[in-house]
Symmetry: C2
Subunit: 189 residues, 2 copies
């Protein structure tokens, strides 16, 4: 479909439709060179949705972009009233505090981060401290402050679970939710 | 702030903060070369918000990304129950049908399109047919099908109102809402 198709070689074949969806939603063919993913990602997301585990989003834009799969709740806690005081107490961002509120819902969940590097950094901390393990992490925050670093760590396997990311500054809520939707559609097919 | 600052020369000085916000939210410094805007845009958006006119969005992701200004309602009608039957009757997309439902709310409104080229094309048709004129159009749909064409027309002045756009395929809901938020913040400052 795309002239850059040959550059898909570094990605698992099970993610071809997902990568195409990410290119389509971003309008950027060369995105493919920065995409990194675990070969177990598609199966992990499919199993999580089959088990009706939650989809945990870092912000409302990601949540709005997700086509809700049957049975799995799709949540963002960024606007939860507990977040602001917790962020203040933690000395961290609201996005990071919202990750703390995921609690036991993390177990077997699909995490989708499209905005906040601090959400990913906090998730890595919690996992290192023994928090319940999600089934998969789609981590594609965007921008100049921490995004590239948070995604490089994910691609290095810091979370120890199947992942999908885009190296560098590019990313965002539309990319993250489009990637999730393509994975969910593939799991249903 | 950015190495490409010199490339801002083709844009109105009143939009500098807006352009920086668009670069920050996208992680793409070279976006600036594709940004096109009318010199009257900042004033037009400010006056519309002062008059508490609506902010009309083409989709929920744009609406979610907008920090609601005092007094101006922020609407997306994409999920309105009238949209699906209207789209079918029109033989057009749901995004285009939702634009028809804006009706008199268009008068003096700020239109923010971040997803659907068909929303922009339908808006041009309605304006040509005498629909109420919005105060400004932030039109930044994304992708391979119609996006570039819809934005080229906007940059050529087809709508006859102050505009902001990004030529080519790049765009999206995050860019569109970030641009609006920066303009709204500038209007309040």
């Amino acid at each position: 479909m795309f002239a850059h198709a040959a550059q898909l070689a570094h990605l698992p074949a099970s993610l071809e439709a997902t990568v195409v969806a990410m290119i389509e939603v971003s309008g950027m063919v060369d995105l493919v060179v920065d995409i990194r993913a675990d070969s177990g990602l598609a199966d992990a997301v499919g199993a999580a949705l089959d088990a009706q585990r939650p989809v945990l989003c870092d912000c409302e834009m990601v949540r709005e972009g997700i086509a809700p799969p049957d049975g799995s709740p799709v949540l963002s806690l960024l606007n939860d009233p507990r977040v602001a005081p917790l962020a203040k107490a933690m000395g961290n961002t609201r996005s990071a505090a919202a990750v703390d509120l995921w609690g036991d819902a993390l177990a077997g969940a699909v995490v989708v981060v499209g905005n906040a590097p601090t959400a990913l950094f906090r998730l890595y901390e919690l996992l290192a401290a023994g928090a319940p393990r999600p089934a998969a992490i789609i981590g594609i925050p965007v921008g100049f402050v921490g995004a590239a670093e948070s995604k490089a760590l994910l691609a290095q396997g810091i979370a120890g679970v199947p992942y999908l990311t885009v190296l560098g500054r590019r990313g965002g809520s539309a990319l993250a939710s489009a990637a999730f939707n393509a994975l969910a559609a593939g799991a249903r097919a």
